[in-house]
Symmetry: C2
DNA sequence: CTGAAAGCGCTAACAC
DNA sequence: GTGTTAGCGCTTTCAG
């Protein structure tokens, strides 16, 4: 790799002159500047970023950690972040945690070693102590989820309200046995969503059957299908189900298709998030659409602003920004009274039983 | 930030001792090592990666450039790459080019300045001369698309065959007027896909009407809808359409839904790629499924192997790996003979005309 | 207007 | 076993 010294030697000038010429220092004469620029170009000189960093230059890379980039929800976030970074001349270091605190830690270690300018993270349920300690050394923002010990700056959605709306919608349609399938209550988001579900039921004075709440690992593509089978195989199956995560919604839609359960006549469904294609799933998925881009953009702007102010990591004012989701009513949930409660489910239960027996 | 010197001073030892202790150098006594490790931990010492780099250590970051990470197709690639990188202790720098050579150049500049270990890139149609020059300075692999001047190492899919299969499928079903909507022929992929379409038509001795080929910018969400309107508004509309990109497929599916065109009775459709939800679009989308993960994993492994061998950038043997797509037959294209040619299209044409007039 | 020198944080060669 | 020294590539005093 060509260095500034290589260029300087070739031209018979000092390295400082090369550096200054390339930095458009006004003290350099036009003629030398031109010579230097030309030589640098010809020799393929590219300033070594690491050397600048070590001298104390500001880092231009921001780290992003999400559970799973193949999840359209996080891909949308990464895309929005990427746009903001581009406009601000920043590079993005992207890591996937797979919801594993150990993997998360490895990424955070790399971030710290690289002296990134800052980070945006969707934390795992329980980041390790070292993760917490390392993150404390540079500015960062929590997105969506909120883990103890991390930054007091958090940008998320109103999870409780989102699920409350979804559940309320089913209550309004006359549903009485409404199931909830969602991510673990260990996650701040998971807990809030369960609260939303319970609040809607409580407001309608409905019985709260704990068997109707099915929780599991958020990233598991198995949670939705498994929960559905358990719910529909039960003696008193629900007439409708509320999804507590994008991933659960996705897998549930697939499974309902696979089992050929008719929606909404056999089962009412309300999703979480609104991904491409969900509008044309069956009768159209009724769901809570989330303000994903805004959340990403706001988070990024906060971080960039914070970084450019050169504030210390300690004087960060706690900040929480909560964006609301919007209920989108399509066709996957309709009047529960139009058919006897559980009319469809027993048949499905029998089908599931048969399938399991033959497997 | 704590440095090795800070730790050394606190302990009254030299920086080299600190460095060696932390690097598990066997020459260091167990007692000092323990003291150093303890102090380093307490003081929150994290080795500065930039300083190591500048001293000649191998970079541990690999750059990835894709057109658009919110496109599920590229998100899948990024996810697969991320998994391989994690297993090899590498970090990922991700950039979106938005199919803009200027943006692409900015990312490549940053990559060069950061002295990344290597790069995986889905190039734009015409990378700038500087992009070409910079990429020549470090190992990289082209994925999917193949641009002149870049690495001779390329991992892609058999685009020609994929579209040929798709078109052939429609021919076999009796379709005679088959349209093709795809990305620009400037792209290596675009050109190959057009060839596949034409080859299938030629093999069946069908007329090749140039009006049935609609091309445009690959990332434009508008290409599919616009092309569809033009095609169906024409005097002699096609009975079916082949999609030439994931993005075209996505937007086309949306638009067909919006216009309430009945598929397959009114129009046969074969997609490109197989994204979540496409199986439940209308009668199920018949499409060509692509071996995306394999492609990503193979590319990454080639690069990692190349890097770890410490080979020079010049002695790279040209390498091309082509993976085949698989036709997945679902319900979006059926026998053309079952209804009069263009029976549906005129009605749709009239609807489009009315809509345009009222707009 | 330009050069010489120092130093960022780290490691490796070279002492002892 | 441990310390001293030098130098990676760059920028920024300080000199001239």
């Amino acid at each position: 790799m060509t260095t500034a010294r290589d260029v300087a030697e070739k031209l018979g000038v000092s390295t400082s002159t090369v550096g200054r010429a390339l930095a458009d220092d006004p003290r350099i004469s036009e003629s030398t500047r031109a010579r230097v620029v030309k030589a640098a170009r010809e020799m393929g000189y590219v300033a070594n970023h690491a050397a600048r960093l070590i001298r104390g230059a500001a880092s231009d890379t921001v780290a992003v950690v999400v559970p799973d980039i193949s999840n359209g929800f996080y891909a949308t976030i990464a895309h929005a972040l990427s746009g903001v970074f581009l406009r601000h001349g920043l590079q993005m270091m992207l890591g996937e945690s797979a919801d594993d605190p150990g993997v998360e830690l490895r990424h955070v270690r790399a971030m710290a070693a690289s002296r990134v300018a800052g980070a945006l993270i969707v934390p795992t349920a329980r980041p390790t102590a070292e993760t917490v300690r390392l993150l404390a050394t540079f500015p960062h923002v929590q997105m969506l989820r909120r883990a103890a010990g991390l930054s007091e700056v958090w940008f998320g959605i109103d999870d409780e309200h989102a699920v409350q709306q979804a559940t309320q919608h089913l209550v309004d349609l006359g549903h009485r046995r409404i199931a909830f399938i969602g991510g673990s209550a260990d996650l701040s988001t998971g807990a809030a969503r369960i609260r939303g579900y319970q609040r809607a039921l409580a407001a309608a004075d409905l019985d709260q059957d704990p068997d109707l709440i099915r929780l599991g690992a958020p990233a598991s593509g198995d949670l939705g299908p498994t929960a559905l089978r358990v719910l529909l195989g039960a003696a008193d199956p629900p007439t409708s189900v509320v999804c507590g995560s994008v991933q659960v919604t996705r897998s549930l839609l697939e499974e309902i298709r696979r089992l050929a359960i008719s929606v909404p006549s056999g089962l009412g469904v309300v999703g979480f998030g609104d991904e491409p294609g969900w509008s044309w799933w069956g009768p159209g998925l009724s769901t809570v659409s989330l303000p994903t881009e805004q959340l990403a953009v706001s988070s990024a702007l906060w971080l960039i602003n914070h970084i450019s102010q050169g504030l210390s990591t300690t004087d960060v004012r706690p900040y929480s920004s909560t964006a609301a989701g919007t209920l989108v009513v399509r066709g996957s949930a309709t009047d529960a009274a139009a058919r006897p409660v559980g009319s469809m489910a027993p048949a499905v239960g029998a089908r599931i039983a048969k399938e399991s027996a033959s497997a």
